[in-house]
């Protein structure tokens, strides 16, 4: 592991906020499944498992607006803050805590919501 540890053992430094395009996403690679890191127009940063609850599409490739990302595969819309699909679709993606200190973005791998990720 080459992650930088800050404060507690939970937080991993994953990069700077400018590394993520505004209204865009970058990926943190992980053996257990990649995590998509999103940045919205208010410079808020969110982390979701990079797998749409519908058919496993890569959410990191979706279009971001407000606190929503639209999956590129079949246009499911998911809340960035809670991982919930926007009605009438039903489902969720696991979310992960993000902390920002100055320019730096930290990710915790302790899942935040109680969504049970569907395994294919």
């Amino acid at each position: 592991m080459n992650a930088v540890v800050s404060e507690s053992n939970d937080w991993l430094e994953i990069g700077k906020i400018e590394d993520i395009p505004k209204l865009g996403s970058r990926v943190v690679k992980r053996a257990e499944g990649d995590i998509a890191i999103f940045r919205n127009s208010d410079n808020e940063v969110f982390a979701l498992l990079n797998r749409c609850p519908h058919k496993g599409g890569p959410l990191s490739e979706g279009i971001v607006y407000g606190k929503t990302v639209t999956c590129p595969m079949h246009n499911w819309c998911l809340g960035l803050n809670n991982g919930e699909a926007v009605a009438p679709d039903e489902g969720c993606a696991p979310t992960y805590p993000i902390k920002i200190e100055g320019e730096k973005v930290f990710l915790s791998l302790q899942q935040q919501n109680d969504c049970e990720a569907e395994t294919e």
């Binding site: 994953i14 127009s41 490739e61 607006y65």
Partner: protein, 811 residues
Amino acid sequence: MKEKLILIGNGMAGMRTLEELLKLEPEMYDITVFGAEPYPNYNRILLSPVLAGEKTIDDIILNSREWYAENNIELHTGSVVCEIDRVKHSVKTEAGDEFKYDRLLIATGSNPFIIPVPGHDLDGVIGFRDIADVDTMIQSSKDHKKAIVIGGGLLGLEAANGLMIQGMDVTVVHLLENLMERQLDAPASDLLKTSLIEKGLNFLMEVQTAEIVGDQRVEKVKFADGSELDADLVVMAVGIRPNIELAKKAGLYCERGLVVSDTMQTFDPRIYAVGECVQHRGNTYGLVAPLFEQAKVCANHLATLGYGRYEGSVTSTKLKVTGIDLFSAGNFKGDEDTEDIVFQDPKAGIYKHLVLRDNKLEGAVLYGDTVDGAWFFQLMREATDITDIRQQLLFGQAHLGNSGHGGQNVAMAMSDDAQVCDCNGITKGEIVVAITSKGLFTLDDVKAHTKAAASCGSCAGLVEQLLESTLGGNYTTPECKPVCKCTDFTHDQVRAAIRDHKLTSMKMVFDYMEWRNSDGCHVCRPALNYYLISSWPEEAVDDPQSRFINERAHGNIQKDGTFSVIPRIWGGKTTPDELRAIADAADKFDAGEVHITGGQRINLLGIKKEELPEIWDFLSERGLISGHAYGKALRTVKTCVGSTWCRFGTQDSTQMGIDLEKLSWGSWMPHKFKMAVSGCPRNCAEATIKDFGVVAIESGWELHIGGNGGVKVRATDMLCRVRTAEEVEEYAAAFIQVYREEAHYLERTAPWLGRIGLSYVKERILDDEVGRKALHKRFLVSQKIAQNDPWKARAKGEYAHEFTPLKSLGV
């Protein structure tokens, strides 16, 4: 302190207005709703199926009591408002309670008209309007046998059908010669009567009701000609009257209905009104579709946005009697200035009558085959010039331009388990259940809830038929479809604003057009990005975050998240060196599959996103560039070998293909754009199903436009013949540029041409030489910026963040 909004009338029009208002301004008002009936808002148009035993009351509730609570709306059911004090701004209920308002919305609907003959107040004489009436009818059918329905209109026939299904012996009494005379002409009306008689209904035509006789309860009905008929139940369905008693009492100006302006305001500007109680530009409406349009406008003004305008509605009707298929819309009777197109096959029970004025469709009556009702209705509302399709018009949309993915096309004849959406596997039964249980009214609602018609869209017509047959004439197609939920403006309005006001960035569009969401959404952003860069190629900056992933990553995303790589092969002509480069790339980057495409190119599949810049660099060094196979852009120019080799060839079609591809590669379009050049009329390159097709002839070139394969095959229309290669290029560029400047985003040339008509394109390109040359020039200006190989730039390190992970955790 929030302003207080009071709604009188807890029905579909009033509640729809509140729903639209909550979407715009959820926190603006303290809202109180008064309803005379003891139920929350229900779907009144589904009362007929409840009577027919096909649905229950619970099935047709639209807003549950929980919904009101969740939205902080105070609901008073079974509470009649009896007074409006316009000076004190308050309303008073029959129970004597008084409530203050800042704004008031009146949606009191209508009352059934009860003919004031002697005996009209006996027990067992009712209207057909609300749940209480349906309860009375169902109860009567248990204890009594004989029913008379007075009125052979839409509502009367639905009531009669329901009572018959409940086991009663039903006679329909009608004053006039023809049933449903407000919707049908005589031949259609005759066909309808014949089918209803076969189903078991009885009819007495051209008789006038004189008296209803009985002691306590109705026993018989006497007619003006002296005849009489026994009856245990009489349903009056001779029409509705706007319920304006309360409004009149409050001194609001009323004629037949409560008069409102285009902003849905009464003569007292604090008081709004929508629904069946209002009279707008002299018309009253009794169908849901116009009421919903009114609701949207009214909500716009209640939210103080101030730009919505209601300008009246064209309505269509469909009878909700199982097994009977009829459709009626607009002015179907015509006059001395209209023309008729009629198809009549009485034995098969099919009748179609279209009314035209100045080459536009003005009315339609269909019986027995209503597949094209929705299409005709759309042609009417959009006032489409049908000159170019007049000869095929009556045979319907399916007969325009050839065939395509067939599927089913007659909704009524399908069984519940028949598949409607062949992409997502959605059955008729699932769609109908969703429409009724979830209270859906539009195609978009059905798409969102069921996914039917949400992929390729070829079943959209079928879904519209299901909406019609489930909801009657009450399903709604928006008058002008907005770009997305962020705005009420249409594609044309947005394009015009971008052009006329020189809006050159997305932020300018959002500000100028008051977008509801500050970032837009996944629907509008790609469209706006295209409109900006196509309108202002030299000023607007392309926004990668508003591009769909395929265009952002310059490859087609596959279901496993890998990408495909398709280099450009100019005019389909390649060399051993190019093929070696592609083969080497496939080996080096471990392509999962190598596929020859339909456009004479080679597709390397299964390339990992991180490796895209490397493979592009590899190909770029060997002289290959991006094929834009992933974009709403010029795709390929397919060719045959032409006169260089072929004994039939008349011109060098391969070179023409290469030249056209060199001219147009890299250009962004509203949708994908394909070309082909055939070397002789045998047309081996299939040029007549391309967006722009060229067929070589001995004396020059024949130019074709607007074809495509795909969901619905459309053969091209012939544009013209030209002599020289220079002319081919000029005409091609001009056509592309009109399409680029005027089509809606995601509209291919085939439907675009269907919408605007071939005559229009001919005017722009053939008749207007100066205009054609200007279009050609504008295309070349735009190409100067667009013809920049995106692969090469990224291979050299541009947008590197797009292709590298932010971080890798131990993998």
